[in-house]
């Protein structure tokens, strides 16, 4: 068990290295840098090109790529320093942690909601195979897969506005946006978070319902189920006692590929619903070529996804001994 965990944790290091290189290349690819962006917006404010050269030097933008990359990664690893946001004129680390926290919160809520929806529906669909309910479940699942989540967000906004006359954007009511954290603020957050969580999670439920249904169906045909039924075990207990527990393993391992999807969905939905999470900040930063901010957000989203995957792998190993020795 310990060996498995150590191996799994060690594998993270090359993964993070590759991801950080990919991310750095992506944010470096645009021609020009922030100084150019600044130059084009402040052309007539009297700042001459000499000033921009000085700026470039100050931020290390005149250095070769690998030096810039090395400095960036070294700063993050040793000092938690993600670089400097040119647009906001503050260190990146000041900007992203609050928003990352909320991103994680929305994604996790979406995950919990996905499970709460997919688990019972999947069990129902398997237990009542080929009934109207089964077909309805797969149809809803497929519909969730086919509706782009930004469209779903728009629809919910539209419905909320035209039917209830309320606006659903954001994560907080106006009076709590700048308020310090308190129980009232948390309660306010909880009353807002379910909409983005539902929107983000719905896409993932489809595949989870299908996985749950297929796994449970596989188990239900096995001899031990027949034996248990022959011995007179009630249908509900029969279902929940053994087959369900076995069918749950793939459910846990599905976290590994559900998580990147959730984070992706959260990014888009948060832009549409203008949530105070990383999505809108990332889009802004990319458009303004605020490279350290954009890169740090992409990097941290990826890292958090990988950590989530790691946790799911370890959970699975705890649940299912076969995984540890594979």
């Amino acid at each position: 068990m310990l060996g498995y965990i150590v191996r799994r944790v060690l594998l993270i290091i090359p993964t993070m290295l590759v991801i950080s290189i990919v991310v750095f290349l992506v944010i470096q690819l645009p021609p020009g840098d922030y100084a150019n962006t600044l130059m084009s917006t402040m052309q007539d404010s009297g700042m001459d090109s000499f000033g921009f050269e000085a700026l470039r030097k100050q931020y290390g933008l005149d250095q070769p790529l690998h030096v810039q990359y090395g400095r960036w990664v070294w700063g993050i690893v040793t000092a938690g320093d993600f670089g400097y946001s040119f647009k906001w004129s503050v260190p990146v680390s000041q900007l992203i942690w609050d928003r990352l926290g909320l991103s994680v919160l929305v994604s996790l809520s979406a995950l919990v909601l996905t499970w709460c929806i997919a688990l019972p529906i999947g069990i129902y669909a398997a237990a009542r195979k080929y009934t109207v309910g089964d077909y309805l479940a797969s149809f809803i699942g497929f519909a969730g897969l086919a509706v782009p989540n930004f469209l779903l967000a728009l629809l919910i906004m539209y419905a909320a506005f035209s039917i209830f006359g309320m606006s659903v954007g954001g994560l907080f009511s106006a009076e709590y946006v700048n308020a310090p954290w308190s129980f009232a603020k948390i309660a306010d957050l909880m009353s807002h978070i379910w909409i983005p969580a539902l929107v983000v999670g719905l896409g993932g439920t489809a595949s989870l319902i299908r996985i749950m249904r297929a796994n449970l169906l596989d188990e239900l045909g096995k001899p031990y189920v027949v034996t248990a039924r022959a011995k007179g075990l009630g249908e509900t207990r029969l279902l929940l006692k053994y087959p369900l527990r076995l069918a749950l393993n793939p459910f846990v391992s599905s976290l590994a590929w559900v998580l990147p999807g959730l984070v992706s969905g959260e990014t888009i939905v948060s832009i549409v619903l203008s949530l105070p999470t990383t999505g809108p900040l990332l889009l802004d930063a990319l458009i303004a070529q605020d490279m350290y901010l954009a890169g740090s957000i992409i990097l941290m989203l990826s890292v958090l996804t990988i950590v989530g995957t790691l946790i799911s792998d370890i959970l699975l190993a705890v649940l299912d001994p076969r995984v540890r020795y594979a």
């Binding site: 930004f150 629809l155 992706s264 888009i268 990332l282 990826s302 996804t305």
Partner: protein, 382 residues
């Protein structure tokens, strides 16, 4: 459990059926199995229909992309009626619509367009309208459907803020949205087959390295990366180049799934007896791959491809909606949805969300189709 011993005729009939089954080729078997998948069949039919609409867009659209009617800005969908009951109670038959006239909504206190119930404009099929070049080649002005009065446009799904017909734009948008899915999948396919093939055929260290790379790429959330790559594209670039680059971006991130399928099939087939036989016969690796392996996993590849297209369409729509994918004057479903950015516009003109319906129908149809194909891809399994 047999109720009765079957008579000789039945035995003979079943025997012939069995022989036909055993003699049938792979593709016949796949088709037979696919035919039983009702949802897959329906999905396939709808997908074909949508692709046909995209191909014949100029003719099917009531008007051209550039055409606009200034008096019909934010026009609601116009009604299409067969029978008109006049003020005197007399019934008047014939396909028609009502021209829109400005009215003041007294509750919301704003001007809107509403059909004028007193005026009729006949609607016909194969009527002359805006001139266009069919497939950019043949000049003509015949549209499938249109009004007989050139001053009254036919806006069955309403219009946008410039008074352009939404239905026509959705039909033209199908071209871009669908083709980007096809091209994107084609590029991913090339990448996936080459990389997955190398990985599966060579095995060992190469396989291990490639698989780790695929795993890493899969663990990065794709949307932030997509946004990052799409933001690189300069705003001033020609629309065709933007289209090409967006397709490339979608493909660069989407190939991993296909590579997995190809590698899996390679590994599964490598130990099959007919492959060993070919190798012992002295066939070259290329010949083994092209002549023996590819035909037997082609169906799996096609299924994986058709399941990859909807993802590409959704990704393009999302990117364009965020304003960093395709941009006007290129018209795709995502570009059309850009008009529905803020809640005020949506409340005033909810029909601007209709391009989203086109996306949903297409993605659903392709998903069902791909699902059916995947089930049918291996006709020899039980």
């Amino acid at each position: 459990m047999l109720d009765a011993i079957p008579d000789a005729r039945t035995v003979e009939r079943l025997k012939r059926k069995r022989e036909r089954y055993l003699a049938a080729g792979q593709w016949t078997l796949i088709w037979r199995r696919f035919r039983r998948h009702t949802l897959g069949l329906i999905g396939g039919a709808i997908a074909v229909l949508i692709y046909l609409i995209a191909i014949f867009a100029e003719f099917l659209a009531p008007t051209t992309l550039e055409d606009y009617t200034a008096a019909y800005r934010f026009a609601p969908p116009m009604p299409l009626e067969i029978v008109h009951v006049g003020a005197d109670g007399a019934w008047q038959w014939g396909l028609h619509t009502h021209p829109l006239v400005p009215t003041v909504d007294k509750v919301k206190m704003r001007r809107t367009l509403a059909p004028d119930p007193r005026k009729l404009v006949p609607v016909g099929f194969f009527v002359p309208g805006e001139p266009y070049r069919f497939w950019g080649l043949f000049p003509t002005d015949i549209h499938l459907i249109g009004t007989s009065d050139p001053k009254v446009p036919l806006m069955l799904l309403g219009s946008d803020r410039l008074g352009r017909d939404l239905l026509s734009r959705i039909i033209y948008g199908a071209r871009i949205s669908l083709s980007i899915g096809l091209f994107g999948v084609a590029i991913s396919f090339a990448l996936g087959v080459v990389i997955g093939g190398i990985s599966g055929y060579l095995g060992g260290v190469t396989d291990n390295l490639i698989q780790r790379l695929v795993e890493i790429l899969d663990s990065i959330p794709s949307v932030p990366l997509w946004i990052g790559l799409a933001a690189i594209i300069p705003l001033t670039l020609a629309p065709e180049l933007v289209y090409f680059l967006i397709t490339l971006i979608l493909a660069l991130i989407g190939w991993t799934g296909l590579a997995r399928v190809v590698r899996g099939r390679f590994l599964a087939l490598k130990s099959e007896e007919f492959i060993s036989a070919a190798r012992l016969d002295g066939a070259s690796p290329l010949r083994i791959i092209m002549h023996h392996m590819v035909p037997s996993f082609m169906s799996h590849i096609i299924a994986a491809l058709s399941l990859a297209i909807p993802g590409m369409i959704l990704a393009e729509t999302a990117l364009s909606y965020l304003g960093i994918g395709l941009r006007p004057p290129v018209v795709s479903w995502g570009v059309l949805l850009q008009d529905a950015q803020n809640i005020r516009t949506i409340v005033e003109a909810p029909w601007l969300l209709l391009p989203g319906v086109a996306v949903v129908i297409t993605v659903l149809a392709l998903n069902f189709f791909g699902d059916g194909l995947r089930d049918a891809a291996d006709p020899y399994s039980s």
